[in-house]
């Protein structure tokens, strides 16, 4: 694809991503959202978008700006208990390696699978009370 063309996801690719989001949600019990588009102020914009989700505390937002080549993963207050910043960093590395070769769908796919699996093992905080 020559430079200057517009990269968009086909309906089939969007359906695949929707399925992956649902799979990640089933695996982790968290709510996942993927945003692809302009992030004018970088992470600040991503935080603002995350704050506008229905249940921010339990939500994970994967925000990608393909034009500025930026990726932000935002986890809510409760979501970050199961999905640590370290796990998010690993997922981000995996995603950017695909984005770097122009594979937007592949990067999102890898990231969602990694985040869903990492978020699965939420620690039981009241284990000593049992």
């Amino acid at each position: 694809m020559p430079a200057g063309d517009v990269a968009v996801l086909t309906d089939h690719q969007r359906s695949e991503l929707t399925r992956l989001v649902q799979t990640a949600e089933k695996l982790s019990g968290l709510t996942f959202s993927v945003y692809v588009g302009d992030l004018a102020s970088g992470r600040k914009t991503a935080l603002s978008l995350h704050g506008q989700l229905q249940d921010p505390a339990m939500s994970v937002l994967v925000a990608v700006d393909p034009n500025d080549r930026e990726l932000h993963i935002i986890t809510g207050r409760q979501a970050r208990v199961g999905l640590t910043n370290h796990a998010c960093s690993l997922a981000a590395m995996s995603m950017t390696s695909s984005f770097n070769v122009g594979d937007l769908l592949g990067g999102l796919r890898d990231g969602l699978i990694a985040l869903g699996e990492q978020g699965r093992s939420a620690p039981v905080l009241h284990v000593r009370d049992v």
């Binding site: 968009v8 959202s33 999905l83 995603m95």
Partner: protein, 85 residues
């Protein structure tokens, strides 16, 4: 005494073609084979990073600005990671 070149069947032009033309052609083909994948890779990379500008949401989309009383979650409460490529 006859020259060693007396019975050489090729002209000067043919000799140059044989010893310079063919090696240079082979070198050119090999160079193209080595460099061509890089050119196509750069073209793919450049094209795919251009987005239409229309925001795309997969999963639960943002519902809009929330009243400040509901937006109790501060930046410190949240985690995650950022990266560039």
């Amino acid at each position: 005494m006859t020259s060693v070149f007396a019975e050489y069947p090729y002209s000067t032009l043919e000799t140059l073609g044989l010893f310079l033309g063919i090696p240079l052609s082979v070198a050119l083909v090999v160079s193209l084979l080595v460099l061509a994948p890089g050119w196509t890779r750069n073209a793919r990379r450049g094209g795919s990073t251009t987005w239409s500008g229309e925001a795309l949401w997969i999963g639960n989309a943002a519902v809009g600005e929330r009243p400040s009383i509901l937006a109790a979650e501060s930046e410190d409460d949240r985690g995650g990671a950022s990266a560039r490529w």
